[in-house]
Amino acid sequence: MLMVNLLGLSPMLALVTPQMWYAVPLVVAVSLVWGATRHERLREIAGHSLRSLFWVLTFMMVVFALIYISGYFTQ
C-alpha cells in the first residue's frame, strides 16, 4: 500500500518541480547496476533492483517532501 501511495505521489511531485524527472533515469540505472553486482541471475537482479528502486525513491521523496514543506515556514 505504501509503495502504491508513493508511486502515485511521484508524478505529482514531478509536476511541482519538473527537474525531478532527471532523477528517474539516474535512479533506474543505479538500481540496476547495484542489483547486478549482488546477483548473477537476471530474475534475482530484477528483484533486487526493484527493491532498491523503491527504497531510493522513498528516501528521495521523504527528503523532497520535508524540504518542500519547510519552504512554507521560511517564506
Partner: protein, 217 residues
C-alpha cells in the same frame, strides 16, 4: 582461469568463470560491460553497457558535450573528471583535448566560437557568435568551444569567463550533465569490481548472520 562457486538456496550451486580477472577488469574499465562479455557473462555485460554508457552519454548530451573535460589549473580544478575517467575510453577525448589545448592551441571538434574577453561591447564578451551578432566581430580572434575540451580563453575564479558562460547558457543542464557523467563513472567502478572478483552474493547463512538469526534457520 579463476572459477568461483556460490552455494545457492535452491541447492543448485552457481559457478562463475572469471577467466583472467585482471584482463577482465581492464576491459571493464575501458568499455563498460566489455569485461563481462570477455567472461561470457553476456546478459550482465549488456546490462552494464546499456546502463553505464547510457547514463554517461545522456549526461554528456545534457551538457552539450562540455561537461567532461580535463583541467587542473588553480582557477579551474576539474575534480569531477577523476570519477568521469572511471568510465574508460569514452572519456579519453577529454585527455586528447587537454594535450592539444594546453599550450593555447585550438581544440579539435569545434562546437562553436565566442567573442574574445576584451571585446569593446561588454555584453558580448565570451558570448556565442551567431548569425545575428557576427557583424560585431572586430577581428579574427575568437574563443573556440571544443567537444570535451576545457573552457578556452582567460579564466577567472570570480568573474565572467567561458566556464561562467557555459553555466549561464545551459543552466541546470550543465550541473545535471556533470552529475550523470560522475555517477556513470562511479557505477563503472562497481562493474569493474564485479568483473574482477565476481558478484557479492550472500548465502542464506551469511544473511542470517547479518540479521542476527541462528545458523540453519
Amino acid at each position: 582461469m579463476t572459477e568461483i562457486v556460490f552455494p545457492q538456496d535452491d541447492g543448485q550451486p552457481l559457478t562463475v568463470d572469471l577467466r583472467n580477472p585482471y584482463l577482465a577488469a581492464l576491459l571493464a574499465w575501458l568499455i563498460p560491460g566489455a569485461g563481462h562479455f570477455y567472461q561470457r557473462r553476456r546478459a550482465k555485460g549488456a546490462l552494464f553497457c546499456i546502463c553505464i554508457l547510457g547514463t554517461f552519454l545522456f549526461g554528456l548530451g545534457l551538457g552539450r558535450g562540455r561537461v567532461v573535460y580535463a583541467s587542473f589549473d588553480s582557477e579551474d580544478f576539474r575534480w569531477q573528471f577523476v570519477p568521469q575517467l572511471a568510465c574508460g575510453a569514452v572519456s579519453f577525448p577529454a585527455l586528447a583535448q587537454k594535450i592539444v589545448t594546453q599550450d593555447g592551441g585550438d581544440p579539435m571538434w569545434v562546437l562553436c566560437e565566442r567573442f574574445p574577453g576584451n571585446h569593446p561591447n561588454s555584453d558580448l564578451r565570451f558570448s556565442k557568435i551567431t548569425p545575428e551578432n557576427q557583424d560585431q566581430k572586430r577581428n579574427d580572434t575568437t574563443i573556440k568551444d571544443g567537444f570535451m575540451a576545457p573552457p578556452a580563453g582567460p579564466k577567472f575564479a570570480r568573474g565572467n569567463d567561458v566556464l561562467a558562460k557555459w553555466h549561464f547558457d545551459y543552466r541546470h543542464d550543465f550541473e545535471m550533465g556533470t552529475l550523470f557523467t560522475i555517477v556513470a563513472g562511479l557505477l563503472n567502478l562497481m562493474a569493474i569490481y564485479d568483473a574482477f572478483v565476481g558478484p557479492a552474493i550472500l548465502t542464506r547463512s551469511q544473511k542470517n548472520r547479518l540479521e542476527g538469526q541462528p545458523e540453519g534457520s
